[in-house]
Structures are given as C-alpha cells and as structure tokens.
Amino acid sequence: AQTVTQSQPEMSVQEAETVTLSCTYDTSESDYYLFWYKQPPSRQMILVIRQEAYKQQNATENRFSVNFQKAAKSFSLKISDSQLGDAAMYFCATILTYKYIFGTGTRLKVLA
C-alpha cells in the first residue's frame, strides 16, 4: 500500500531562519509525483512545490526547495528566510494513479 509519513507533528522556526520539514513515503510505482501543500488557518490548501520522481534535480520555488532522495524514499521541504506568513499546516502527498495519499501534516510556527 502507498503511504506517506510525516513524523514531525509540529515545528517552530525563528523568522528569517531556515527550517526543514520531513516526509517519507512508500510506493511500488516507478514513476510518480510528490507534492507539498500548505494549509493556512483560512483552510485553503495551496500547492507549495511539486517533484516528479524521474527528475533527479530537486525542485525549487523561490524560498521553498526540496531534498528528494528517491532510494531512501524521502522528500523533505526546506523553507529559507522564513516569514510570518509561512505559518501553516504543511502536508506531504503522493499520487497513486489518480488518488492522492496525504501525510498527517506538520504544523509550522514562525516566531517573530
């Protein structure tokens, strides 16, 4: 079965510092996508970053980057220069055919 595990229920980071959120997954697929979604208090889920498994290069979107380790089935999210607006729940996810599998989330607190 396809699973996604986020082992950090909560993380804190000082404003302007860097934080890394962990995610591991298990899949029997050879090609797949991985995602990080952000859910602020407004509840609106927003895609942060996406990685295609066949691409070796780590995806980057401005202050957000991933460390994708395919052999280890690890997909961590690094947020650089953290801002107060980054405070939210972050969900790691993968897709099996059409069905998304989400982790349980990590709540990120940003300290001023």
């Binding site: 995602f35 889920m45 895609l47 059409y98 069905k99 998304y100 982790g103």
Partner: protein, 114 residues
C-alpha cells in the same frame, strides 16, 4: 479564471438531519475529489469523479454518505442522518488529468453536528 468554490462555508445542523454540500470545480477540470478533514487531522479521501466514468466511492465511510456529479460540473456531497462524528471540514478539489495532476482545492465547508 475562478478557483474551486464550495458552499456553504459553514453549516451547523442537528444530529439526525440531512445535509448537502456543494462544490463548483474549475471549468475544464474533469477530475473532482471530496475529502474529509477532522480537527487536527490530515485529509481523508472520500470519493473521486472522472468525467463520465463510474466514480471511485471507496473512501465513503458509510451508506449515509453519497455524492453526485453531472458531467464535468457541480458536485454535491450528501450526508443523511448526520452524526456528531461527521463534524469536520469537507474539502473539494479538482484537477486536470493531464500534466502534473496538481489538485486545486476549495476553501472547504465546516460542518458541525450538534
């Protein structure tokens, strides 16, 4: 264009009543998903629609839950004889089935069963 919209944004209902939640997907998105998110939890898959194919209902928790979608338009999620454990945020998402499979989420409906 417009994003995914859901209505109502909040719904309070008495135990035993039926409720209907609505989702308007992004125009042109053939895939539509419903999820349930209990307080402090992750997203729980409920049902998936793809075009005119038979929906994947494997995530519906009981026969009190049903959903419909006409073609590639609006979807409604109906919960009959609501129970307190049905209290949650119900999220809808739509996506194109080509390309990156990115899901676009609506703002959700917060359902409270008293």
């Amino acid at each position: 264009g417009a994003g995914v919209s859901q209505s109502p944004s909040n719904k309070v209902t008495e135990k035993g009543k039926d409720v209907e939640l609505r989702c308007d997907p992004i125009s042109g998105h053939t895939a539509l998903y419903w999820y349930r998110q209990r307080l402090g939890q992750g997203l729980e898959f409920l049902i998936y629609f793809q075009g005119n194919s038979a929906p994947d209902k494997s995530g519906l928790p009981s026969d009190r839950f049903s959903a419909e979608r006409t073609g590639e338009s609006v979807s409604t999620l109906t919960i009959q004889r609501t129970q307190q454990e049905d209290s949650a945020v119900y999220l809808c998402a739509s996506s194109s089935v080509t390309g990156s499979y990115e899901q676009y989420f609506g703002p959700g409906t917060r359902l409270t069963v008293t």
